[in-house]
């Protein structure tokens, strides 16, 4: 929503991780910081990326000590990793960031995500990386989006009721009624739900009830949308609505797991 308000430069969304890593020139840094002064989403994205770096740098020694397999992704640079995760997630518009499990790609075979000693900080790291990827993705969408960049076939669906320039979460493939949940999406949802289950003892019963109620509402919306789309596969409103509901579930789960991590 804020894209046209601030008239942001598109290229900055791709360079936030370089900025956080201190890899921009002084001139580029100055330009980006001028953009950050007027763009809340990019500021938020930078904040989340810095949180990932800070948290992981604080725990780097633990990682190296407790699980040798974890040092490989650490060496790769967490902000770029988070950015790459988000980039992978945008390979198909509509796909969410991948879960923590995918972060081990290229690392030694040992599954450090399953090491019991690492679970507490992995859970927090997963939440942070997923959040950072999400925010980064949102910023990228927001920077690229309103003029249609990165949404190659959005116009194919344009109509008076669905203007091509609409800043909403749309399925990009005109031949598909709705974005089909990828394995990455399902894994991300599964990871977050597991983190929420594991951390529920840290929440007050009222908070747990509220979270469960909210998630149940979203699940109901998803189920009803799927049912409606089954009955009317050409209904682009329902298709878009279903996409948005699935994304909303991810955001809600992130919010809920952030609440858990605030207490642990």
């Amino acid at each position: 929503m804020t894209g046209a308000m601030n008239e942001p430069r598109d290229e900055w969304a791709d360079r936030l991780s370089e900025y956080v890593d201190g890899e921009l020139t002084a001139a580029e840094t100055a330009l980006l910081e001028a953009h950050l002064a007027t763009c809340a989403r990019c500021r938020e994205a930078v904040g989340e990326l810095r949180a990932v770096v800070r948290w992981l740098s604080e725990h780097a020694a633990d990682v190296g000590h407790a699980g040798s397999g974890a040092t490989a992704p650490l060496a790769e640079g967490w902000t770029r990793l988070a950015a790459r995760i988000a980039a992978d997630g945008t390979a198909r518009p509509g796909a969410p960031p991948v879960p923590i499990a995918s972060m081990t790609r290229g690392a030694p075979r040992r599954s450090w995500t399953r090491d019991p000693a690492l679970r507490p900080w992995l859970a927090a790291a997963a939440a942070l990386v997923l959040a950072a990827g999400s925010v980064w993705l949102a910023a990228r969408d927001h920077l690229a989006g309103e003029r249609g960049a990165g949404r190659p076939v959005a116009s194919a669906r344009s109509s008076p009721t669905r203007p091509a320039s609409r800043p909403r979460e749309t399925s990009a493939d005109a031949s598909v009624a709705a974005w089909v949940p990828t394995a990455q999406y399902l894994a991300a949802v599964g990871d977050l739900e597991r983190m929420l289950r594991d951390g529920r003892d840290h929440l007050r019963p009222e908070t747990i009830r509220a979270i469960e109620q909210s998630l149940a509402n979203i699940d109901r919306a998803i189920a009803e949308s799927e049912q409606a789309l089954g009955a009317d596969p050409a209904n682009d409103f329902v298709a878009d609505y279903l996409d948005a509901a699935r994304r909303r579930k991810l955001r809600a789960l992130r919010r809920a797991t952030a609440a858990v991590n605030a207490q642990t």
Binding site: A40, S159, P160, I211, A221, A228, A252, A262
Partner: protein, 291 residues
């Protein structure tokens, strides 16, 4: 149960309430950052270039106020095994930016003329004022904003959102709770909830973009006459009612159509999966007493 004075005194002694009261001079442009696990943060403003921190807490909790050129940081630490709960009353310069966050806390801000970012897990967030960007996030609790002159971003999971007498663009998202936007003036509004009503009362600016989506409740707008907007309506099982006469420009199945008011320069999107959608005119006699 009534407490006798003796019992009340004994209770106070047992609680061992302590107070912190400190005032710190701050530079113009410095930001206040308060981090809190439980309790409350009540921020008020004054015209002095200083921050006063008054805190009520147990004797097992220590309050730390640390100042750099850019940030005044307020945080607390509890002895092992003790609850880290503090009730803060903080007075800040009117133009001091605020970052307030934590766990189960009520957050209140009054009279601010600066950026505000607040975040809690449980508890009410109430902001009166704000400039630039007001960004509020809550897992479980009401969020209320009044008299902001700012872009307002509210993300809640469970709890009603109310924004009143505000000037500035709005983005509000909720999963379980209503979104009520009353006397707001914005060129861009996005309001989305799942289980909750959406109400909007304000102008529709030429060239503006307004999007309202709920799953199973009403979307209700009260807008002035003379609007220039392309209106898109989408619902699966709800009905559409309008005080504005309109002629459908394109019908795309049941419950999906668009029409144009005036020159159509603004984009107005109204969606409810299974609730009704009502487009009311502010001066329409039939709607005047409705709310």
């Amino acid at each position: 149960m009534l407490l006798t004075p003796a019992v009340a005194m004994a209770a106070l002694v047992t609680l061992q309430i302590a107070h912190t009261d400190t005032t710190v001079v701050v530079r113009a442009g410095a930001r206040l950052a308060v981090d809190l696990r439980g309790g409350s943060i009540d921020v008020r403003t004054w015209d002095r270039g200083a921050v006063r921190v008054v805190a009520a807490h147990s004797e097992q909790v220590a309050v730390h106020v640390e100042s750099t050129a850019a940030v005044l940081s307020v945080r607390s630490a509890a002895a092992r095994g003790r609850n880290n709960i503090v009730d803060y009353q903080i007075t800040v310069p009117r133009a001091m930016s605020l970052t307030l966050g934590g766990g189960d806390i009520d957050i209140t801000v009054a009279g601010s003329e600066a950026e505000i970012a607040a975040n809690n897990r449980e508890g009410k967030i109430s902001v009166n004022g704000g400039r630039g960007v007001v960004s509020l996030r809550s897992t479980h609790g009401e969020v209320a904003v009044a008299n902001a002159r700012a872009r307002i971003e509210v993300h809640a999971l469970n709890g009603d959102i109310a924004i009143t007498d505000a000037i500035g663009d709005i983005e509000a998202e909720n999963a379980d709770g209503s979104i009520t936007l009353t006397r707001v003036d914005a060129a861009r509004v996005s309001a989305t909830t799942v289980d909750g009503e959406i109400y909007y009362e304000g102008p529709i600016r030429d060239g503006g973009r307004y999007s309202f989506t709920t799953h199973d409740n009403e979307v209700r707008l009260v807008i002035p006459g003379g609007v220039n907007a392309t209106v898109t309506v989408a619902t699966v099982t709800g009905e559409f009612h309008s005080d504005f006469p309109y002629e459908v420009r394109e019908q795309r199945g049941r419950g999906r159509f668009s029409f144009v008011l005036g020159n159509g320069s603004a984009l107005l999107e109204l969606e409810s999966f299974e609730g009704d959608i009502k487009l009311g005119r502010r001066d329409a006699p039939s709607r005047r007493e409705e709310r």
